[in-house]
Symmetry: C2
Subunit: 160 residues, 2 copies
DNA sequence: GATATCGTACTCGGATATACATTGTCCGAGTGGTGACGG
DNA sequence: CCGTCACCACTCGGACAATGTATATCCGAGTACGATATC
């Protein structure tokens, strides 16, 4: 049970977008280059985020992706949801209903499913409690002056 | 990010084993038949549980699988761990270290990884808090008399 | 009749195919900017 | 000199291939039970 690496890619990409002035974006190629990632595959993942309403896409020259709402209103869970989907990790196929001694009450989920549901709820709650603004702020706080300057220069090259 | 269906299969199989008298087991074929599952594939999953020390295997006629320790000491997490492995779902590949503006401090995990680590810890904690004995007790409590009789008869057929 | 030995049936264990999902790439659709042309 | 139009470069979007993992199966290794032959 492993998470798609697209989650890591887009989470870092969105963190970068969160550091930009409001309304300003970057093309997928630039987001990929920032971490030396495959441009085409990064573009594919960004599409998923656009469909989910996490980012907005702007076509044409000077276009790209930008956050669809304030970074403080975007949680890590939204990104996971956009890439991985909303399906629970544990999918109960009700095997208890089959076999020579089938269970009786199918209106309620089986005990095993209940535990997994509860565990996954706790997992999601943690991811929902952290916003992109939180992450961006933490990253910015730890950055050295040299890194800040490097980032500023790179952004100027990208934004023109 | 979906969990292997082997987790569901083996979790239900172990719940059945937990309902048996201590020291008594069932062959993989019987565990599969109990829920109409593919016998060969069920056997493969039970092997994983045996390697992890959750169950013991007994070869030869009259052999099979039985719990390796009391059901109260086996958690759902152990079963997940045996089937899925201990690898975290979110694997940080440190992409922040690459690209034109690499991060500075690599001794500490990045902020995004930290959040996922915390979330997964919460998830595992829930699974570790429930034992097979808890599940078996709950299943037994909800069972109707008819179902109990059906189960007893089936077990007698299997155990001789 | 008791005991040792062989054979047989049963079960686990790992090696081996197959199906499906994820990963990765490409080309067409759409859009804004830019330059040329005409008024 | 200004406005309009057409072209072009740029970017997203979805369709299409390659790879890896999970799924599914089979055959060999090992063990207990039972039958048989011998003492």
């Amino acid at each position: 049970m492993k998470m798609s690496e697209g989650v890591e890619w887009t989470a870092h990409a969105c963190t970068l977008l969160a550091a930009l002035p409001p309304g300003v974006g970057l093309p997928a190629a630039a987001l990929a280059e920032f971490h030396y990632l495959a441009p085409a595959y990064m573009a594919k993942h960004m599409q998923a985020l656009a469909r989910a309403g996490v980012v907005e896409s702007v076509r044409g020259a000077g276009g790209g992706y930008r956050l669809a709402k304030p970074a403080s209103e975007i949680t890590l869970w939204e990104i996971v949801e956009a890439i991985e989907g909303v399906e629970p990790t544990f999918r109960c196929t009700e095997i208890r209903a089959q076999g020579p001694c089938p269970g009786s009450d199918f209106r309620k989920p089986c005990e095993i499913t209940s535990v997994f549901r509860k565990a996954e709820t706790a997992w999601r709650a943690e991811l929902k409690s952290v916003s992109l603004a939180d992450i961006a702020a933490e990253v910015g706080r730890k950055a050295t002056p040299a890194r800040r300057a490097q980032l500023t220069q790179w952004l100027q090259e990208q934004l023109g």
